[in-house]
């Protein structure tokens, strides 16, 4: 049987890869992809804890469903912002969109 540690190590690695993508990529759409990877890692953890620690309560799966909804909303609004910025500024590079930085 698979011990819980396999899933936790996998989710930690996936979260770290997503974090690297968010911090290092220049393209705004690539940053959103990194966020998706991080949300998926969190979901794996939620479901693994449900299965291994509290299998009689369904809270882990219910939270995972909420994370699905939040991820869908986030990517819809994020991509709309990217397309709107591309239309006005003709760029999708996050470094060039820094007017709010000060």
């Amino acid at each position: 049987m698979i011990p819980l540690s396999y899933f936790l190590v996998f989710a930690a690695a996936l979260f770290s890869i997503g974090l690297y993508g968010v911090l290092a990529r220049r393209n705004a759409i690539a940053i959103l992809m990194g966020v998706e990877l991080m949300l998926n890692a969190v979901n794996i953890n939620l479901v693994a804890f449900w299965r291994y620690i509290t299998p009689t309560q369904i809270a882990g799966q219910a939270f995972a469903v909420m994370v699905f909804a939040v991820a869908a909303a986030e990517v819809a609004v994020g991509l709309a912002l990217v397309i709107s910025i591309y239309r006005r500024r003709n760029t999708v590079v996050a470094d060039d969109i820094d007017l709010l930085k000060f």
Binding site: A12, S16, L19, A72, V75, A76
Partner: protein
């Protein structure tokens, strides 16, 4: 090594490799395709965790909707960053250091936890997680309010996305 462990390890290696390709590949369309492969691997892991509904929802929502939306956005904003210029910003070594430190820290915290190597408890014959999940999402004692708030939030997000992306004449 049991068969389940071998299946898990193969899936994990493929999924992590695809996730690494998502963050390092230059071509964004390829990154989106690797992202789809990552989502498939995660769906397999949900099956290994006895969460069949989430596995199906992963395929329908992430692969069917979110990845396609990403590909549409990439194609609408193309020819900006095709194959010239660096794809990573100047601080990428720091990003690598932070990601590696986070991974090491998480593993260090987990390894000190007593339940780290716990095995999955046996699911009874009568256990029906799907029915339990469905009841939990609509029962007033459990998660009906977060569920309704999530649906209102999805509606607001979709209307907001249309408003933001609207091309004003």
């Amino acid at each position: 090594m049991t068969a389940l462990q071998i299946i898990f390890l193969i899936t994990a290696v493929i999924t992590l490799g695809a996730a690494a390709m998502v963050v390092i590949t230059r071509n964004l369309v390829h990154a989106a395709l690797w992202l789809i492969m990552t989502f498939f691997g995660i769906s397999v892991l949900y099956v290994l965790l006895n969460a069949g509904f989430l596995a199906v929802a992963q395929v329908v929502i992430y692969i069917g909707a979110i990845s396609i939306l990403m590909i549409f956005a990439i194609m609408l904003t193309r020819r900006v960053q095709q194959d010239f210029g660096p794809q990573t910003n100047a601080a990428w070594p720091w990003a690598l250091v932070i990601a590696a430190a986070l991974f090491g820290g998480l593993i260090w915290i987990f390894s000190g936890w007593g339940n780290f190597f716990t095995q999955a408890p046996v699911m009874g014959e009568r256990a029906d997680p799907l029915r339990q999940l469905g009841m939990a999402l609509v029962s007033p004692e459990q998660y009906v309010i977060p569920f309704e708030v999530a649906s209102v939030m999805l509606t607001a997000a979709l209307i907001g996305a249309i408003m933001v992306a609207w091309e004003r004449k």
